[in-house]
C-alpha cells in the first residue's frame, strides 16, 4: 500500500468540534486550517490550527455557511481536504459536491449519499426497500373512515392520526381502540384545518414511550460496520441534552439486529465514512428508522469511550483511502459512558440562551473524565451560534458508577460569567427514574421540574453566610485601608476573614 500523502485539512466549523477535529488531525500527523468569523477571532480552535483564515462577519450566513468563502480559504491555504464537522454545511450535498468539484477531498460521504438521506420522505422509501424497519403507516392521505379502519387494522392499534401539514402536535390524535377512530379522524382533520388550512390526515403506528437509540456506522472502501448504539432519550424540544452508551434497553441480540439494519441503510446509499442511523425503540423491543445523519455526531465521544475507538481519526483515515483501523469481527462495549451537553441556557430565565463573557472556567478532570470545550476563561458567548459551550463525558465500569463519576465531575466544574444548564444535569443525575434507566423521549416533558431551578433552605443559608462574610471583608478592608479583596477580578488578596476564621479554629 502506498503511504497516503501528508494532508492539510481545512475544518469548516467552529467551537468544540473544530478543536476536536484539529486534535485528531494532529494525532494523525496532518496539518490544519481554521476558518473563523469575526466573533471567533480569539477562539481556542483558531489558535489550535496551523493556519487561520477569516471568512466573514459573525452571522453564520455571512461566514460558516458561505461555500464560496470556505472554498476561497481552502485555495488560499493550500488545503487538500475539508472536514465539515456537524451542523452548518455538514449535511448539504451541494457543499460536498462543491468541495469535490474544487478538487479537494470531503471528509464524509458522497454528495449523492447525503442527498439520498437528506430528503426524509424519499429516504424512508429507500429504507423500506432495503428492508430497514420504518414506522408503519398509510403512505397516502386517508379518503374515508372505512379505508382508515382497514389501514389501522393492518398497522395494529394504537395508531396515531397525523396532519399532513402538521407540526407541534396539532392535528394529532392517539387512537387506542377501533371504535374511537372515526371521531379522532374528524377531530384531527378539523384541528388541522384550523391550524394549517389543510385538513388532510394520515395514519402511523403509535409507539409507546419510545427511546431514541442510534447506531454508529463506519464504512471504508471495503467494509461497513456498526460500532454499537447510543441512547439519546433525554431531549428537550428535540435537542439532545444527555447521551449514553450503551443503552439499558439494548441487549446484545437487539444490538446485532439494529446494527444489521443500520448497515443495510448505509449500504443502500453507498455510504462512506462515519454516520449515524437514528431509530425509535419501542417498549416492546421493536425499532423503527427515523433518519440517517451523514456526519460526525455531537455525542460521538460516548461511543469512543466504550468501544475504544477514535471516530474522527477513522473519518480521516477513510477519507484518505486507508482502511479503518478497527479489526474485523463483532465489537463489544466495555463499561458505560455518559455525556452531558453544557449549554449557555439560563434555567432562571425559561432556559433562554444567555450571553456574556466567561470570566473563569475550572474544567473537571481525573479518572474517566473527558472535557470537550469550545470555550475557555475569557471567551465571549454570543447569540450568533449554538448554545452548546462544551461536552462533559465520563466513562466507568457500569452505569451506576458512570453516574457517580459524572456527579463528581459536575461538582468539580466551575464556570463563571454566563448561566448554564449545569444545575439541570445535577438534578437529572440524582433522579431515581434516570438512575433506573426508565427514560424515553417524553421523559423531560413529564419531568419539567428537572429543568427548573430548585431551592432549598440549606443552600440559601449557605449563600447568605458567604455573602455576609464577603460584605464584612469589604467593609473591614475599606476601614483599614488595606487593598480591597476583590474576588470579582482575578487579583485576589488574602482573605481578611481568614484570620478571624483561624482564630475561630484555635478556640
Amino acid at each position: 500500500m502506498t503511504v497516503p500523502p501528508r494532508w492539510r485539512v481545512l475544518v469548516a466549523n467552529r467551537g468544540e468540534i473544530a478543536l476536536r477535529i484539529m486534535r485528531a488531525c494532529r494525532d494523525e500527523g496532518l496539518e490544519t486550517v481554521a476558518v473563523y468569523s469575526d466573533a471567533d477571532r480569539h477562539a481556542p480552535f483558531v489558535r489550535a490550527a496551523d493556519q487561520a483564515i477569516r471568512i466573514g462577519p459573525p452571522a453564520p450566513a455571512d461566514s460558516y455557511l458561505r461555500i464560496d468563502a470556505l472554498l476561497a480559504a481552502a485555495a488560499e491555504s493550500g488545503a487538500d481536504a475539508v472536514h465539515p464537522g456537524y451542523g452548518f454545511l455538514s449535511e448539504r450535498a451541494a457543499f460536498a459536491q462543491a468541495v469535490a468539484d474544487a478538487g479537494l477531498s470531503f471528509v464524509g460521504p458522497s454528495a449523492a449519499a447525503i442527498a439520498a438521506m437528506g430528503d426524509k420522505t424519499s429516504a424512508r422509501r429507500l429504507m423500506a426497500a432495503a428492508g430497514v424497519p420504518i414506522v408503519p403507516g398509510s403512505a397516502d392521505t386517508l379518503s374515508d373512515s372505512d379505508a382508515a379502519a382497514a389501514i389501522a387494522a393492518g398497522i395494529g392499534f394504537p395508531v396515531l392520526v397525523k396532519a399532513v401539514a402538521g407540526g407541534g402536535g396539532k392535528g394529532m390524535r392517539v387512537v387506542r381502540h377501533p371504535r374511537e377512530l372515526g371521531a379522532a379522524l374528524t377531530a384531527a382533520s378539523r384541528e388541522a384545518v384550523k391550524a394549517f388550512g389543510d385538513g388532510r390526515v394520515y395514519l402511523e403506528k403509535y409507539i409507546e414511550r419510545p427511546r431514541h437509540v442510534e447506531i454508529q456506522i463506519l464504512a471504508d472502501h471495503q467494509r461497513t460496520i456498526h460500532v454499537g448504539e447510543r441512547e439519546c432519550s433525554i431531549q428537550r424540544r428535540h435537542q439532545k441534552l444527555v447521551e449514553e452508551a450503551p443503552s439499558v434497553a439494548v441487549t446484545p441480540a437487539l444490538r446485532e439486529r439494529m446494527g444489521a439494519a443500520a448497515i443495510a441503510a448505509a449500504r443502500a446509499v453507498g455510504y462512506r465514512g462515519a454516520g449515524t442511523c437514528e431509530f425509535l425503540l419501542g417498549a416492546d423491543g421493536e425499532f423503527y428508522f427515523l433518519e440517517m445523519n451523514t456526519r460526525i455526531q455531537v455525542e460521538h465521544p460516548v461511543t469512543e469511550a466504550v468501544y475504544g475507538v477514535d471516530l474522527v481519526r477513522e473519518q480521516l483515515r477513510i477519507a484518505r483511502g486507508m482502511p479503518m483501523s478497527i479489526p474485523d469481527g463483532p465489537v463489544t462495549p466495555r463499561g458505560w459512558a455518559i455525556e452531558c451537553r453544557i449549554t449557555s441556557e439560563d434555567p432562571a430565565n425559561g432556559l433562554l440562551p444567555s450571553a456574556g463573557t466567561i470570566t473563569w472556567i475550572r474544567a473537571p478532570a481525573g479518572p474517566g473524565v473527558r472535557w470537550e470545550s469550545g470555550v475557555e476563561s475569557g471567551s465571549e458567548v454570543t447569540l450568533f451560534y449554538d448554545s452548546m459551550l462544551a461536552k462533559l463525558i465520563v466513562h466507568a465500569a457500569d452505569r451506576p458508577r458512570a453516574i457517580d463519576v459524572m456527579q463528581r465531575a459536575l461538582a468539580e466544574l466551575v464556570l463563571v460569567g454566563v448561566a448554564t444548564n449545569i444545575p439541570f444535569h445535577r438534578r437529572l443525575l440524582a433522579d431515581l427514574d434516570f438512575a433506573t434507566g426508565a427514560i424515553d423521549i417524553q421523559f423531560l416533558e413529564r419531568r419539567a421540574d428537572l429543568l427548573l431551578p430548585a431551592d432549598d433552605d440549606a443552600t440559601t443559608t449557605r449563600l447568605a453566610i458567604v455573602a455576609a462574610l464577603l460584605a464584612e471583608e469589604r467593609r473591614v478592608s475599606r476601614r483599614t485601608g488595606s487593598p480591597p479583596v476583590s474576588t470579582g477580578d482575578l487579583n485576589v488578596a488574602r482573605s481578611a476573614w481568614r484570620d478571624t476564621a483561624r482564630r475561630d479554629a484555635l478556640r
Binding site: L463, L470, A505
Partner: protein
C-alpha cells in the same frame, strides 16, 4: 455587624459579632477562604466545605455561582436596609412620593432641583449621618415637585426632604 441577605425572595439575617457568626439567631462555625488568582471561594460551614465563585458585584448586589447555579444575592447592612426601606416608603413615583430622612443628619448637597426628571437609582440628595455620607436615590422615575430642605440644614429622622411626582404627559411635537 448585622447583614440582611436576600436570595430568591427569602431574607436571612446574618450577624457577625467578632468571631461569632449567627444565622437567624443560630450560631454556626463558618470559614471563608479565597483562592488566589481565581474567583473561587472555599466556604466551610460547620465543617462542611464547598466551592462558590463570585461573579460580579456592585454595592449591594452580588452574583454567586454555586454548584453551577448563578444566584443573585442582595446584601445590606442595617443602615443601607433602613435607608432603602425609608426611601422606598413613599414608593409611588408613578403617583407621588415623599423622600424622608432615614436618620437624623446634615444635608450636605442637593443633587436635584424642582422640575428635574429623575430615573430609578439617580442620586437625589447627600446626607451626612453617623459621620458617613449617604446618597439617597430615586426608587423609580418621576419629576421633582418639591425641595423642602437646603444644603447645610440639619434634619430629624423622618423629616420630609423632597417631593416627587409622576412625569407629565409628553408634550406633543405638533
Amino acid at each position: 455587624m448585622k447583614y440582611f441577605v436576600t436570595i430568591g425572595g427569602r431574607t436571612v439575617i446574618v450577624e457577625l459579632d467578632g468571631e461569632i457568626v449567627r444565622v437567624d439567631g443560630c450560631q454556626v462555625a463558618a470559614q471563608l477562604e479565597h483562592t488566589p488568582g481565581t474567583p473561587e471561594i472555599r466556604i466551610a460551614i460547620d465543617g462542611v466545605a464547598t466551592t462558590v465563585a463570585v461573579d460580579a458585584r456592585d454595592r449591594t448586589l452580588w452574583r454567586l455561582v454555586d454548584r453551577g447555579s448563578v444566584r443573585e444575592v442582595v446584601v445590606e447592612d442595617e443602615r443601607t436596609r433602613q435607608i432603602r426601606l425609608l426611601a422606598g416608603a413613599g414608593k409611588a413615583v408613578d403617583g407621588h412620593a415623599v423622600v424622608k430622612a432615614p436618620m437624623p443628619g446634615l444635608v450636605l448637597r442637593l443633587l436635584v432641583a424642582v422640575g428635574d426628571e429623575v430615573t430609578a437609582g439617580m442620586p437625589l440628595l447627600a446626607l451626612e449621618a453617623m459621620k458617613m455620607e449617604n446618597e439617597l436615590k430615586a426608587i423609580g422615575s418621576g419629576r421633582v415637585t418639591g425641595v423642602l430642605v437646603r444644603a447645610g440644614q440639619a434634619v430629624e429622622k423622618g423629616q420630609k426632604l423632597l417631593e416627587l411626582g409622576p412625569l407629565g404627559p409628553a408634550i406633543p411635537l405638533a
